[in-house]
């Protein structure tokens, strides 16, 4: 039927109506607060995700830690290179046995509301962090203190028996169980930062909101819109001037969106490898804005030594020696990671790792044959557990292919799980093989080696060796650094050469994007801990 409808549809009713309704809707939600204009800042950075909390005692994640360490400051802090420098304490002394530290708090130390900050604030904040009611998952950072663990687990009710005293407003005396060589690093960590208790008491769980939070670090919390942005402003009461006045923190978690923002100059800094599209890394690797630096973290594989066939050390060694790590770092991770034969990453002052097991296919095949699986024949079906994030899908598939190529093992099944489910499986040692990673809490080999103590909370392999446990205890009680490092060297040898409950894969790198001419103070550092108070905008830039 010839409908001459060209004319008739001219009165496009829906368009006019709908435009009107849309305008009304928009106006309505604008007033509801669904839409707000965001504030300008001197530096904008992508921080990887929305922080789960900004309460320094409760924080466990790295991205939350970064913001918290811009807002709060412990007795010590770090400079751009990552070295420990005085923070709220202007100086300290250490007793000859290494067990007692006496900190002198700055005379001009103040909270962001102008209140003086005293040694008592530290004492009260540590009591809060340790108290079971606070349910801080990182309270074990204070277990180094005398009676810290007993108080933290509720066995001891009287905090005055814990190894911290405040004889006067400017003196804090800390007593430790062992001569903990890295204690001054712990005091720069967010868990040991002071919080303003009157504010916490007044607002309860809302104390971390803008307008309520009182802090003592280089910045104060100005605005915080969920999943939108956080705005920090220089704290006028901080003891030294901060070069950058306002920092805007974007919680963008999608790598494509992050990179687009950076590419269109809407953000000045991306701080994580996870915030850069993995498929782009190869093509932007040589750009002046791409920065890759090694830091204290290692990716490795856990064996479940309680299950066949990994109860046999020859099988574990064979798999370790036939893992072509160069292949993984060049094909999969690709951001400048180095193949690892040891668990402890290089860069710990005074420490040298043992050699580790080299890549040696012939010897690996020999060992596998001795264990009863010549050319991989008869090798039972085993699951390779990994968390479905980043490049781990590809890494797991590559490892599966490499063992097939070099050892003839065809019975490895991939088992990728969501993050929390993966953690659960790992904790219950419900796996045969498990892709894992560890980032040190402080720059000392101990943070890697104490994981594998018998029944340690993060052992998760079922492996146990009384000699190893004994060595750990001896090292903790050794005040002489050289002797201590030697013991730890021998411990690592057991781990990566003799017993092999784990296979190191690669040393992690910190990847960041920024134009060198536009941001200074972001120096490579071993702990990947870049304090925002150290950032500055180089001269010649607006």
């Amino acid at each position: 039927m010839g409908v001459s409808g060209t004319r008739s549809y001219r009165r496009a009713i829906p368009v006019v109506w709908v435009a009107g309704i849309a305008t009304l809707f928009l106006a309505f939600f604008y007033f509801l607060g669904g839409w707000s204009l965001s504030s300008e800042a001197d530096l904008t950075l992508c921080n990887g995700d929305e922080p789960q909390t900004l309460d320094p005692a409760i924080i466990t994640g790295q991205l939350e830690g970064r913001i918290a360490l811009a807002l709060f400051e412990g007795l010590t802090t770090r400079n751009a290179q990552g070295d420990i420098i005085p923070g709220m304490a202007e100086s300290w002394t250490r007793s000859p046995d290494g067990l007692t530290y006496t900190f002198k708090i700055r005379a001009d130390a103040k909270w962001s509301n102008g209140d003086p900050l005293t040694a008592q604030d530290f004492l009260n904040s540590w009591e809060r962090a340790l108290s079971p009611e606070t349910a801080s998952e990182y309270s074990y950072q204070l277990y180094y203190l005398v009676n810290g663990e007993a108080y933290g687990t509720g066995k001891l009710k009287d905090f005055s028996q814990v190894g911290v005293k405040a004889p006067d407003d400017r003196t804090l005396v800390v007593t430790l169980w062992h001569p903990t060589a890295y204690f001054l690093e712990l005091t720069s960590f967010q868990t040991l930062c002071p919080v303003h208790l009157p504010t916490v008491k007044k607002y309860g769980k809302d104390w971390t909101k803008p307008g309520k939070m009182v802090s003592n670090g280089p910045y104060v919390l100005k605005e915080w819109r969920l999943n939108d942005y956080i705005l920090l402003e220089a704290n006028p009461y901080y003891w030294r001037p901060v070069p950058i006045h306002r920092i805007k923190v974007l919680p963008t978690n999608n790598p494509t969106a992050c990179f687009n923002l950076f590419y269109s100059h809407k953000t000045d800094l991306i701080m994580d490898k996870g915030s850069i599209p993995a498929e782009l890394v190869q093509s932007i690797k040589d750009k002046p804005y791409f920065h890759s630096e090694p830091f204290g973290g290692t990716a490795f594989m856990r064996f479940n030594v309680k299950r066949k066939p990994f109860d046999d050390v020859r099988v574990r060694k064979a798999l370790a020696m036939a893992l072509d790590k160069e292949d993984i770092v060049t094909k999969i991770t690709r951001a400048g990671e180095k193949a690892a034969d040891t668990l402890v990453p290089p860069g710990n002052a005074g420490y040298t790792s043992p050699q580790g097991l080299p890549y040696n296919v012939a010897e690996a095949r020999q060992l596998l044959a001795e264990a009863g699986y010549p050319d991989g024949k008869g090798f039972p079906t085993v699951d390779l557990l990994y968390a479905k994030r980043g490049t781990s899908d590809n890494a797991a598939a590559e490892i599966q292919a490499l063992w097939k190529r070099d050892l003839g093992i065809t019975s490895i099944r991939l088992r990728g799980q969501e993050w929390k489910v993966y953690l659960n499986s790992m904790e219950e040692i419900d796996f045969d093989l498990c892709l894992s990673a560890w980032v040190g809490d402080y720059s000392d080999p101990q943070t890697f080696l104490d994981m594998f103590v018998t029944d340690g909370g993060n052992n998760d392999t079922g492996w146990s060796d009384p000699t190893y446990d004994q060595m750990l205890e001896t090292s903790e009680n050794t005040a002489d650094p050289a002797k201590r490092m030697q013991i730890m060297h021998d411990m690592e040898k057991i781990l990566v050469e003799d017993e092999v409950p784990i296979v190191p894969i690669d040393f992690l790198v910190g990847v960041s994007l920024y134009e060198p001419g536009k941001l200074g103070g972001f120096e490579p550092n071993f702990v990947d801990d870049h304090r925002w108070g150290e950032f500055y905008i180089p001269k010649g830039n607006p």
Partner: protein, 305 residues
């Protein structure tokens, strides 16, 4: 009619009750602990956390505690964002999604009905064929493909719109377009199909025979009947589009509620998951009701049950 609406709203209560019950129990019985992290938590701390969140004891005890809170309008504290209540998170993010969603919904309706009608009156002509191919593309190209392409063209190459973010009027354009396209395409095909059917009916012929203008036939008679399937479609569509899209909101870095639908379940956060499911089901029930009422308004033969 108001009695019927009231009754329908009352019926919603048991439905929501069942939905929340199932969600909470499923999240709690699935593997994964909301508090687990890479580092092992001392058992005493874990116990305290579970106590503070009423997540200790049997699953039925936990469920009872939770429902008692929900009955009082308190959706609990997120286990992932420990300083925020679920109510607070929804209150901050839902308006954002609804702002974006309502714009996208209006655009989808306007474009869809216009294009569909335009194509129907040009049945089987080149213009119709082309538009329907475009519509098929619009339906089948997933938004995680469409959105990056749009960003590449308009934000990176042409640099006329921002790549991502929220807060200024120009930041709403690209996400709204990307969000509306699949719906607009579906509505266009639906309108065209429905209108073609209706234009064949006797009453249209009668209207033409009466000597009515083609405009009057289309708008006053045909479209009024042809719109019925679109109303049916747009009820659930509106619920979906107004509660945010994880893909669009993640890709454009928009602080809406969309990502919580997936993230909260991934993080085994029972309160947040149940909260967003509650929001979505309420929207679904509400907009289905609105669609039914519209049916009734447009076509009096329809009975509201």
């Amino acid at each position: 009619m108001s009695a019927i609406i009231f009754r329908r709203l009352l019926q919603a209560i048991p439905v929501l009750f069942i939905v929340v019950t199932l969600t909470f129990l499923l999240v709690r019985s699935a593997p994964g602990n909301p508090f687990s992290t890479e580092k092992k938590i001392p058992p005493e701390i874990m116990e305290e956390l579970e106590k503070q969140y009423d997540l200790h004891g049997t699953i039925w005890h936990q469920y009872g505690q939770y429902m008692a809170k929900v009955a009082r309008g308190n959706l609990g504290i997120s286990t992932q964002y420990r300083n925020r209540t679920v109510n607070e998170i929804i209150a901050q993010t839902l308006p954002v999604s609804m702002t974006l969603g309502s714009l996208a919904f209006c655009m989808a309706m306007a474009i869809g009905i216009t294009v569909g009608g335009w194509a129907a009156v040009r049945h089987n002509q080149a213009g119709d064929r082309m538009l329907m191919i475009l519509a098929l593309l619009g339906i089948s190209v997933p938004s995680f493909v469409l959105a990056p392409i749009m960003v590449l063209i308009f934000a990176i190459w042409l640099q006329v719109l921002p790549v991502a973010g929220w807060g200024s009027p120009d930041q709403i354009i690209l996400p709204a377009i990307c969000l509306s396209i699949p719906f607009a395409a579906a509505i266009a095909r639906l309108t065209r199909g429905s209108l073609l059917e209706v234009l064949k009916l006797d009453f249209v012929r009668t209207a033409r025979a009466k000597g009515l203008s083609e405009d009057a036939v289309l708008f006053r008679h045909a479209l009024k009947v042809a719109i019925l399937p679109i109303i049916g479609f747009s009820g659930p569509a509106a619920a979906g589009i107004l509660t945010g899209s994880i893909v669009i909101e993640t890709l454009f870095d928009i602080p809406g509620i969309g990502p919580f639908f997936v993230n909260s379940a991934e993080n085994a956060d029972p309160f947040m998951t149940s909260g967003v499911v509650l929001v979505f089901s309420s929207f679904l029930i509400l907009f289905n009701l609105v669609a039914d009422i519209l049916y009734y308004v447009v076509d009096r033969r329809v009975k509201l049950e």
